[in-house]
């Protein structure tokens, strides 16, 4: 059980890292992009804006902690 937990922890740190909100936000933004493009809107602008917003929010929160 200890090894399973350590394995899960490794991958969590590897992919999600210090701020889970960024990973969650990216997943939502990618999902929204897929929904919009499949509805006929070429939402190329969404990901750069989402990434910029998430980065700014994350470093701002970290600076306040």
């Amino acid at each position: 059980m200890r090894y399973v937990r350590a394995f899960g922890r490794f991958w969590w740190d590897f992919i999600v890292g210090d701020d889970w909100r960024v990973a969650a936000g990216l997943a939502v933004a990618l999902g929204l992009t897929a929904v919009l493009t499949h509805s006929g809107v070429n939402a190329w602008w969404l990901m750069p804006l989402a990434v910029g917003g998430l980065l700014a929010g994350s470093v701002w929160r970290a600076s306040r902690e």
Partner: protein, 252 residues
């Protein structure tokens, strides 16, 4: 060679170089104190595991449809790249201490000297396991970047060549300097790699989600420029905030 191929080569080389500098510090710290035989066997074993991973995962990914692959790789690169970029912004603005290879080398040496001696399979087990784990963990990030970069663009060989060149350069530099490479501008390179990973992630992730980028690959440069400018603005704003909150650190 087109724009994205040049960026893939640069990205794989830079990312691998900074990770290898960190691995080199661990290997040197252990090797100098505990001897080289077990340390280098640990390095060799980790290298074999990493090469096997690339050999197994690389071709396996070619069976996944390119749009799905780009969506998955884009999402992973975004998650990974944002971690690098976030840390780089926080380090550059003074909210996180800079990574210090010299300090890491001294810590590694002290721990290696304090550890007890245990022989297993004719090896100094401490030297073997620490160098194996160090190279494997730092190398996993390299493998991840090489496979992501290479597979999403169908240029695995190019990304692997960039990484291999970095391994050769860092190893040669380590042999020549005979010490940690503390003069490598590691944080600056990490900033650049974070920008590259995030930009590629943004580009491929959106493309995998069905987006048709205006200007095709030229959009990649625009995304890179936008995120670079934003990061610069964030560093400036956070520096100003830090000085305003703690005026005594104004000169720091």
């Amino acid at each position: 060679m087109n724009t994205s191929e040049i960026l893939i080569l640069l990205g794989a080389f830079s990312a691998s170089a900074v990770e290898m500098v960190e691995a080199l510090t661990i290997v040197l710290g252990v090797g100098v104190v505990r001897g080289w035989r077990s340390t280098l066997i640990g390095v060799g074993a980790a290298t074999i595991v990493l090469a096997a991973l690339v050999a197994a995962l690389g071709p396996a990914l070619t069976y996944i449809p390119i749009a799905t692959l780009r969506l998955i790789v884009g999402a992973l690169l975004l998650a990974f790249g944002m971690q690098w970029l976030r840390k780089a912004v926080l380090r550059s603005s003074g909210y996180k201490p800079m990574h210090d290879e010299d300090e890491a080398f001294r810590r590694e040496r002290a721990e290696a000297a304090a550890a007890g001696r245990e022989e297993k399979a004719g090896l100094d087990w401490y030297a073997f396991t620490v160098s194996f784990k160090g190279v494997l963990l730092e190398g996993l990030e390299v493998v991840f970047i090489v496979i992501s970069f290479g597979s999403a663009q169908g240029r695995l060989g190019l990304a692997a060549a960039g990484a291999a060149a970095a391994v050769v350069v860092v190893t040669l530099a380590g042999v020549l300097v005979r010490g940690p490479l503390e003069r490598v501008p590691e944080n600056t390179i990490k900033f650049a790699v974070g920008l590259l990973l995030t930009s590629f992630g943004c580009f491929w992730g959106a493309e995998g989600a069905g987006v048709d980028w205006p200007g095709d690959e030229l959009s990649l440069l625009a995304v890179l420029g936008f995120l670079g400018l934003l990061s610069f603005v964030l560093v400036r704003a956070l520096k100003r905030q830090r000085v305003a909150l703690r005026p005594s650190e104004a000169g720091a």
